[in-house]
Subunit: 207 residues, 2 copies
């Protein structure tokens, strides 16, 4: 919900409205389900006009997905911050782990949002679309790290895709178990499977 205190008053006011909208939307959607809630209900709860809603969010889906969207940017930043000498599997694992940890901080709310997204086709679709953007950014960062040509090498795209596959698998398990299973442990297990491909010297193909 809230991020930083922000400097100017206008920015702070904007943040307040955004938070109010997000809070109202998340509460209503989690309680009644995605389709059963209209924008009019949300804005009535938040106390702003319908038009204002669309000045803060591009669509009804956006309110929910935004909540997880920042994670993507964080993941790329985390990858870029890893030491250059680190093996790809370790760098990606830490990047994803950091994102997952940020998710765990919000605890309950995050779990409910994830369950809402994974359980609502329209939201799931938007979520995956956002992820496709992360994938491209992660791939670009990987190509930079390994000094590969993004135009010809398949590895960066594939490695980024594998990392996100791990992320999604962990998310699905975590959400399916109502937060019972430990995300960190699941992630470690996932990367144990993926590591041979992520760190292979290339050309060790046996198929």
């Amino acid at each position: 919900m809230s991020t930083r205190p922000a400097a100017t008053l206008a920015q702070r006011k904007r943040q307040v409205v955004s938070d109010e909208l997000t809070g109202a939307a998340l509460q209503l959607l989690a309680r009644k389900g995605y389709d059963a809630v209209t924008i009019d209900e949300i804005v009535a709860t938040a106390g702003v006009s319908r038009r204002t809603f669309f000045r803060y969010f591009a669509s009804k889906e956006d309110v929910v997905v935004r909540f997880l969207a920042d994670l993507g940017a964080g993941m790329c930043a985390a990858l870029a911050a890893r030491p250059a000498a680190e093996r790809p599997s370790a760098a990606l694992r830490h990047a994803v782990a950091g994102t997952l940890a940020a998710c765990g901080d919000h605890a309950d709310r995050a779990l409910r949002v994830v369950q809402l997204i994974l359980g609502t086709p329209a939201l799931h679709a938007r979520f995956l679309e956002r992820q496709a953007e992360w994938r491209d950014e992660l791939a670009a960062e990987l190509a930079r790290r390994l000094d590969l040509d993004p135009g010809t090498a398949l590895y960066p795209q594939l490695a980024a895709g594998m990392a996100l596959t791990a992320f999604n698998t962990v998310l699905a398990r975590w959400s399916g178990s109502d937060g019972t299973e430990d995300p960190a442990a699941l992630l470690a297990g996932a990367f144990a499977v993926l590591a041979p491909a992520l760190d292979a010297p290339q050309g060790t193909a046996t198929a």
Copy 2:
């Protein structure tokens, strides 16, 4: 577009309408872009009522995505048909290759549809959502093949995700090169990267 001759007359008529609608939609959408085309234009071109459109397709996105949706079912079937003794990487590679080949049959039309989907956020989102369903089915099939418990083992979900990552990467490259690059060759390259993880004896993790 067309599938089988169909037996009864009613079914054949239904098929004709469906084809007409799909054809009109694909032609208009590819020419003018997704947002610039309304359902009214599509039904006017196809010569049916607006209401009828929604009796054949759930949404505007559906017309386009349906075109590739059958591929998913084919992919699962192809995997199930592979010999049980085959290594996972080979079985998955053949399953994806078959799907890609089916894509190549329609040649031009398939290329334009893929480019339309990948270039339109709303369509891309729906496409990825469909893929998530394929992923679950592929994972279930893999778990059956390897006699793993889908409830605990992460491997099936991850392997299915990797295969679809390869599929998507190849599709993106193929579409980006306007059909110049060879899908089969790209797929082989992708699976060369993934194979070490797909076929690893499990526990060879080095992270």
